[in-house]
């Protein structure tokens, strides 16, 4: 099983845009730890809404930047179909446990499709799932970004042998299951305010150490019990199904022979030179 090339090119500008958005994203997720009572943001009821809007805008910009130069029809169709599977898995898992079998698809898909397409797959699967389950809300941009990172990370893992890859991806699935929960709690943790249990609430005036300790308690109390099963589920699914699914994906990528046409954005050219390619 030889690795396949990435189906969408990763450019230098992609790296810069991704780094900048990741930094803003990290700030948007971790701002409760960074503010103090004298900051312009002190975590009253209106300010947390700034970040969902901001992350939504930046998410759009990032998607536009990653797909600049055009995704060809094959990439669009492949991403669409895989995102549909992710969305369907998300609909099936909607409910109490939030076990999210979707992560399994994002991890394996990201691994095969490469960095750009891996990120896009994660983000689009969330959008599709959100449209289907009607879970569109202030959390959607955060989920898009976090799941996009999961797909990107799977593509960034080092290349290893077939058996090692299975275990590597399983371990990665377990880790991301936990991290995703830890990160996704952060955006609404400040909202809880006084309704959180004692010693687990958010207060902008507390020093960083206390904040982290409180969040640790909050995470352990509420979320760890959910995130661990999710991580384990992803890892088990990867272990069981990685081989056939990776094979199927790689075969499809090879058959589609992505990227045989030079990407128009790379070479200086006039606009829309190959827009009518299908008609020639």
């Amino acid at each position: 099983m030889t690795p396949t090339p990435e189906i969408v090119r990763w450019r230098r500008t992609s790296t810069i845009a991704m780094t900048l958005v990741t930094l803003v994203g990290v700030l948007s997720f971790t701002w409760p730890f960074l503010v103090d009572s004298r900051s312009a943001l002190t975590g009253d009821h209106s300010t947390p809404w700034l970040f969902p809007v901001l992350v939504g805008l930046l998410g759009c910009v990032l998607l536009a930047e990653l797909s600049r130069g055009g995704l060809d029809a094959k990439v669009v169709a492949t991403l669409g179909v895989l995102a549909a599977m992710g969305g369907a898995l998300r609909v099936l898992s909607a409910g109490t446990a939030g076990l999210e079998p979707m992560f399994f698809l994002v991890v394996l898909g990201g691994r095969v499709l490469g960095r750009t397409a891996g990120f896009l797959l994660g983000a689009l699967a969330i959008v599709t799932g959100a449209f289907l389950t009607g879970g569109v809300g202030p959390w959607t941009p955060f989920q898009m970004l976090a799941t996009g990172w999961v797909g990107l990370g799977a593509a960034l893992l080092p290349r290893v042998g077939e058996r090692a890859e299975r275990w590597l991806l399983a371990a990665y699935g377990l880790l991301t299951g936990l991290l995703y929960g830890a990160v996704m709690n952060l955006w609404f943790w400040p909202f809880l305010g006084s309704s959180a249990p004692a010693g687990a609430g958010f207060d902008a005036g507390d020093p960083l150490g206390t904040q982290l300790a409180h969040y640790g308690v909050f995470y352990g109390l509420t979320s760890l019990g959910w995130d661990l099963p999710r991580g384990v589920l992803t890892a088990v699914l990867v272990l069981v199904a990685a081989r056939p699914v990776l094979l199927a994906l790689r075969r499809a990528v090879r058959r589609a022979s992505f990227g045989t046409v030079p990407a128009p954005g790379d070479v200086p050219r006039g606009p829309r030179q190959d827009a009518g390619r299908g008609l020639q």
């Binding site: 803003v24 948007s28 060809d72 669009v76 549909a84 009607g134 760890l224 128009p264 299908g278």
Partner: protein, 374 residues
């Protein structure tokens, strides 16, 4: 001319109007867990779909309904098995509890099943079902593929992928059913976790095949990459970078109290403006010419306005914490219903009257009427 055509002759309503109508209703549903309001919304959507569904339009509504019912069922079963954070006073059944290790705090297997928790699960499930039905109604009333033309040029490819995904989900269920039937014909019983797992690879394979066929048909219809002229490309990249950098500095300025005040909000605003400009660069140059243009006339605006009434009414009530929007779970009581709000939720019914009749269906109806009169 029939009275239904007084506002507009039979034609397909602009797809954006139907989607805005449905998504506004979905947004309204996402603000409340009151079962009465949710059932009202379901009835409204159902009636409008019955009134304005084009003959031969996709029959995805059934699939959406099935998914909606499954979602409710899964939620209820999960609540019974795993308990919920709601708690409650009225214990219906006391299931034997399976002891779990301490570090699994938050997960409980078995134990008492309370009426309140169950009702909460049903309400939230019903909310999800309503939202799903609204999206399903959008799909039935306006084929999502017709929306392809209205995504801004910079997000065109990504938007296309999403539309492909949304269209493909019901076919996924079809694929799964077909593979399962094939396995049954070969003598497998088609039940159990193992059998479900066997579906994964064939469904994945057929999906990927389908994606290639779809790509081929898109290319043969002239779907190509869109690139900007180099000058604009450079400007757009520069705008993106400046915008992202500005947002980063602005957020940092907002969070760090030692930076001067000028570094916070103003820089953030400038950065966001640049980011928006980057998104819009090239949108105006988009010279895609649709084969059949969808006009935007009075019915479109009226249809959106009718559901905006419901969405705004519910959102305002929710923002004011009005009674009955999110009925209290403990103790379980009959939810409060406000009559003005219920009336506002009925306003979207007007879409079924004000929107033009879809053409094929109108032709059939008119012929049927002529036959009846003759």
């Amino acid at each position: 001319m029939s009275p239904a055509d007084r506002l507009s002759r039979p034609r397909l309503l602009h797809p954006v109007a139907w989607w805005a109508w449905g998504l506004l209703l979905a947004a309204a549903a996402s603000r409340t867990t009151n079962p009465v309001y949710l059932l009202l919304l379901l009835a409204v959507v159902g009636w409008v779909v019955v009134q304005r569904r084009e003959t031969g339009a996709s029959s995805t509504m059934g699939v959406f309904l099935a998914i909606a019912l499954t979602a409710v069922a899964i939620r209820v079963v999960m609540t019974i098995l795993l308990g919920s954070a709601i708690g409650g006073r009225t214990v219906l059944v006391d299931l034997p509890e399976v002891p779990l290790p301490d570090w699994m705090a938050g997960v409980r297997l078995g134990g008492p099943v309370q009426l309140e928790a169950l009702l909460d699960a049903v309400y939230h499930g019903l909310q999800l079902a309503t939202i799903l039905v609204c999206v399903g109604a959008c799909n039935v009333l306006a084929d999502p593929r017709r929306l392809l033309r209205y995504v801004p040029a910079t997000l065109y490819d990504v938007g296309t992928a999403v539309v492909v995904a949304l269209t493909y989900v019901p076919q996924l269920a079809d694929d799964a059913r077909r593979v399962r039937t094939a396995r049954r014909l070969r003598g497998h019983d088609g039940r159990g976790v193992r059998e479900v797992a066997r579906l994964v690879v064939p469904v994945l394979e057929s999906s990927l095949d389908r994606s290639l066929a779809l790509a081929a048909s898109m290319e043969s219809r002239g779907y190509g990459r869109v690139t900007l002229a180099q000058k604009e490309h450079r400007r757009s990249v520069a705008l993106t970078m400046v915008g992202l950098g500005g947002v980063l500095v602005g957020v940092y300025g907002l969070l760090d109290s030692s930076t001067p005040a000028a570094l916070g909000l103003p820089v953030l605003a400038v950065g966001s403006a640049c980011a928006v400009a980057a998104l819009l660069t090239g949108s105006r140059r988009d010279r895609r010419t649709p084969y059949r243009r969808d006009p935007w006339r009075a019915p479109e605006t009226l249809v959106i306005a009718s559901s905006a009434v419901a969405a705004v009414a519910l959102s305002t009530a929710a923002a004011r914490d009005a009674a009955g929007i999110v009925p209290p779970q403990v103790p379980a009581t009959w939810p409060v219903v406000s009559l003005p709000l219920a009336a506002a939720l009925l306003a979207p019914l007007l879409a079924g009257v004000l929107s033009p009749r879809p053409p094929r269906r109108a032709a059939l109806e008119d012929r049927a009427r002529e036959v009846a009169q003759a």
